[in-house]
């Protein structure tokens, strides 16, 4: 600890003098201030706050990621090139201790920068809301849909996707519904389309929610918009909530309705408060940045400065496109099929014979995507940005899992790799 502490303090001093990192911090703070003015929303207060939270947090996290990966490789590779690190390596110091000290310093700096940015963003949001003089209804909607912490339950056994023909009915079961929070409504979040991809069309249907095999405590005929996720607010029943709930949809449209494969229907049940949820999201974001710091330091331990920075940013690109990689790994499709204007997007397309390269390379590429997805899937599941903006709960268990996956396993693996390779590396 003594040596790691010394390296930690030294690295903090070094980072405090990094102009690049100072620029990143100012840029992040500036973005927090500028984004609310620049971003276009859907005109509703809820939409505005959602967009603000989503984009501000995403922009700040992205900037801090860039800053971390821009600086981390240089803390090892750069110091080896300037021969500063050799002066430390000739002392009774293990490379793992150097790595750990530098990583802790990067995490500490990121913790401060992220906290500053999030505090500023939240303060500006509060100020903005106060200045907007919201109606009681708007305030209630905001605290029901965005500034809230809701458990997101997927239906069992499938994710809720599929086709519901005209007049047909579809049932979904939601297990492990959390206990009712006083006065807080439940929410069904739906995402569906019609086969002709009509945006913003309102679809007529009957929706109900209740205990399986019993009379539902909510039943209503509603028109719900297509394409983007929509929320149906459901007042809770007077008594306690059953542990399993059944949602039923009856299609009253002349067209079939297609529920999104992964986000077709979700049950959102309030649990906990918004503030602590934001703190937990902060924890997960910080763990993600800590993993990037580990990647940057390890790249710096393996390669020279420019190559290390390049490799680190490649890793960032992989993290950023982990959603697309996951989609390719699951569906085996590299692109979204283009639907013809006259064909109505039925999926029937004329296909030309694939060339030699496509025939031979595609299986390899798909295998590579599947491999990458296996590595990235645990990280992708620990991204809290979408959920915070959607008023979804980041549970303490997820934060714990994030710590295990991103810190213990991910960063630990990076540290072990760096120490292992460095043991064989010459630094003279």
């Amino acid at each position: 600890m003594r040596i790691t502490g010394a390296i930690f303090l030294l690295t903090l001093r070094s980072l405090a003098r990094s102009r690049f990192l100072i620029c990143i911090l100012f840029l992040a703070l500036a973005l927090v201030v500028v984004l609310p003015v620049a971003i276009q929303d859907d005109g509703t207060v809820t939409g505005r706050v959602q967009v603000l939270l989503r984009y501000t947090l995403a922009a700040v996290t992205f900037l801090l990621s860039v800053g971390t990966l821009g600086v981390a490789p240089g803390l090892v590779a750069g110091e080896l090139e300037t021969r500063h690190l050799q002066q430390v390596l000739v002392k009774p110091v293990r490379f793992g201790q150097i790595w750990a000290g530098k990583w802790l310093a990067l995490v500490a700096v990121n913790a401060v920068m992220l906290a500053l940015s999030m505090l500023l963003a939240q303060a500006l949001l509060n100020w903005n809301l106060r200045a907007s003089r919201l109606t009681p209804q708007q305030t209630a909607e905001l605290s029901r849909t965005v500034l809230v912490s809701r458990v997101n339950r997927a239906p069992a056994p499938d994710a809720g996707g599929g086709v519901v023909r005209p007049g047909a009915e579809r049932r979904w079961l939601f297990h492990h519904v959390p206990e009712k929070e006083t006065g807080q409504p439940l929410t069904l979040r739906i995402q569906f389309i019609t086969p002709n991809f009509e945006e913003n069309r309102e679809l007529d249907g009957e929706w109900s929610l209740g205990a399986p095999g019993k009379a539902p405590f909510f039943s209503k005929r509603l028109r719900v918009r297509t394409f983007l996720p929509q929320e149906i607010v459901i007042p809770p029943p007077p008594g306690p909530l059953p542990e399993t709930l059944e949602a039923v949809y009856v299609n009253r449209e002349p067209d079939a309705v297609l529920f999104h494969a992964e986000q077709g229907i979700r049950l959102l049940a309030p649990k906990g408060a918004y503030g602590p949820n934001l703190v937990r999201a902060y924890g997960l974001l910080l763990f993600n940045l800590a993993l990037l710091a580990a990647v940057g330091l390890t790249m710096g331990s393996l390669f020279s400065s420019p190559v290390a920075v390049l490799a680190a940013f490649f890793a960032l690109a992989l993290f950023s496109f982990s959603g697309y990689i996951g989609s390719v790994a699951r569906t085996g499709v590299f692109y979204v099929p283009h639907h013809h204007e006259d064909g109505g997007g039925t999926g029937h397309e004329e296909e030309s014979e694939p060339g030699w390269a496509a025939r031979h390379l595609e299986p390899l590429l798909k295998a590579a995507y599947r491999g990458a997805d296996k590595v990235l899937a645990p990280v992708r599941r620990l991204d809290p940005l979408e959920r915070v903006a959607g008023g979804e709960r980041v549970s303490p268990a997820e934060v714990g899992r994030g710590f295990v996956v991103l810190i213990i396993f991910g960063s630990g693996l990076m540290a072990a790799l760096a120490a292992g390779v460095f043991r064989r590396r010459e630094t003279g």
Binding site: R2, A6, R13, S14, Q87, V88, L89, V90, K91, P92
Partner: protein, 309 residues
Amino acid sequence: MKPIIQAEGLEKTFRDFWRRPRVRAVKDLTFDVRPGEVFGLLGPNGSGKSTTMKMLLGLLHPTGGRLSVLGAPARDVAVKGRIGYMPEESSLYPFLTAAETLDFFGRLFPLSPAERRRRRDELLEMVGLTHARDRLVGEFSKGMARRICLAQALINDPDLILLDEPTSGLDPIGCRQVKDCILALAMRGKTIVLSSHLLGDVEDVCDRIAILYNGVLCALGGVGELLEEQDQIRVFLPSLPPERRAPLLAWLAEQTGVEPRWDHPRRNLERFFLDTVRLARDKTADQTGAQVADDIRLAPFLDQPRKDR
């Protein structure tokens, strides 16, 4: 007594990206360094001095032969606690002050905070940088940086001190002080290995030297033993008037059968320079760089008998 450093058939070949041998920097190098001696590595540029030094420090790995430092492999982390190293270039963190630099390097050793602070202050005084303790190392002149670099090499009171070009970048006063420091450390039982281009410096302080050329050991032995011309002698006499000198020279010629040569011995330029500067300094108190005393005094913690430390 067991040698402090033992190199046997040491080889170092640098390879290219494809692992093909590119340069054989050190070839079949065998030498040992005994406890308490000052050992010099000499050679022109590219002779393998720095490569050998880096292998002693574990920064480079030998591709052949055997190397033990303080009875352990050179890469042994525990052994590094007993080594002090002053590199050829003072690669110190420019954003730390002189005191912070020593404090940082002190933290890498198991020293109590009080002991660390004591050693830091004593070393700063020893190298004449107490007045610049709060100045950033990045703002130091090359000479001042060399001094702080020497100080950091001694913070752990090492048994083995490796000095790579220790006097490079120093003015003659600094050079003399470093050499005095080396001699004083050797007197306290430290083992010192230094590499230098400055043959005069090596001659002044080293007990034994190894001369390398193109990675090969060309000469190894005590300085006196290697430099002494056994077939000649030199006699020093007070200056004599010509009428007394002539018969003496004639008698010497008759006895040896060789015409003796004579001249007035010249003062050592270093000594002359130091005397001149001392005189000039006495006239002005203004000093901007390192505050230099006539003689270097070892930091007290280095000057104590081993058992008392």
